[in-house]
Symmetry: C2
Subunit: 162 residues, 2 copies
DNA sequence: GGTTGACCTCAACTTTGGTTCAGGTTAAAT
DNA sequence: ATTTAACCTGAACCAAAGTTGAGGTCAACC
């Protein structure tokens, strides 16, 4: 690991799946899984073993960060697909795609805050989301697109004295 | 539906599963599912059909609200289990159990905000969570409980020039 | 009294993000 | 040369929150 031995059988710039697992903190099975999903890629040795470019370390870091932020892997994959294929991504590339997560986080925080405020109102009145508040609405905001069954719910409860 | 016919075969204070579905905006299959999970309960007619008390409408509303707030059904069930079994829950009861969700929401908003701030730092430096930031740490905060593989990740990247 | 729509159960399938296991191969170290 | 550690594939399994379908019953209306 520390000896700069020129006789090592495979490119020193490459990582085995075990190396990548140890250094990324991600299990080997998860790395296989990411590869099946097209999030990372590997070269195969003559013996069919995976070899990863060091760059992959950063990709995996990005995947982990994205997951912490709550982004589904499919979206992470879509973002990774926008990275240049013809060169190693730069810090600027990573900055660009991270920016999208930042906006996503902002939006989710905002949404949760609105939800909390609604809930506060509903706790205040004790009604728990009937007629006076929007919480039973499954859509993001008060349904702009027609009443539907939601309105039935909202209208039905209190008039029934439930 | 509007005729106050005294000859109706079942208690007018009860709802069929279809009624409950229409008025709650929840599908029949989901109501069956909630019942299997013990979140709601029904009486059976002689023909083995479900009949719900009107109170169930509020229970379902609570379930929906909880889901909007991001609470897993198992937790919703645990909360519902704390409602009195010997009487119809009051507004005060509902207020009490909703309060817990409020605190949960606060905590999650706080956590997301911290995450966002970390991400902002990482976007700022372009490093995407290496050594300088906590984002690759899968635990809530910087790992207080030993370094582990995470540290390997964090330490490994930049020194390798990735 | 028959047709139709609503209801019943049970089993299988869906998605997401993996883990675990079985059975077999490769590679590194002694 | 052999042993051991790491690797390979594929299939099965986990949780959550349901949906879908098959096959059969119930009830309300005309």
């Amino acid at each position: 690991m520390d000896a700069p031995n020129p006789a090592v059988p495979w490119d020193r710039d490459e990582l085995t799946v075990g190396d990548l697992a140890a250094r990324s903190g991600v299990s080997v099975s998860a790395l296989h899984f990411y590869e099946r999903k097209g999030l990372i890629a590997s070269r195969r040795t003559s013996g069919n073993q995976r070899r990863y470019r060091r760059e992959t370390l950063r990709r995996v870091a990005f995947i982990r960060v994205s997951q912490r932020v709550g982004i589904p892997l499919a979206d992470v994959g879509a973002a990774l697909d926008t990275l240049p294929g013809d060169r190693t991504p730069t810090a600027k590339d990573w900055r660009r795609i991270s920016q999208a997560w930042h906006e996503d986080l902002d939006a989710r925080i905002e949404q949760l805050s609105r939800l909390r405020d609604h809930l506060t109102d509903c706790i205040g009145c004790g009604c728990l989301s009937l007629r006076r508040c929007a919480l039973t609405n499954p859509h993001d905001e008060l349904a702009e697109a027609g009443p539907g069954p939601r309105t039935l719910l909202v209208e039905g409860l209190e008039q029934d004295g439930v």
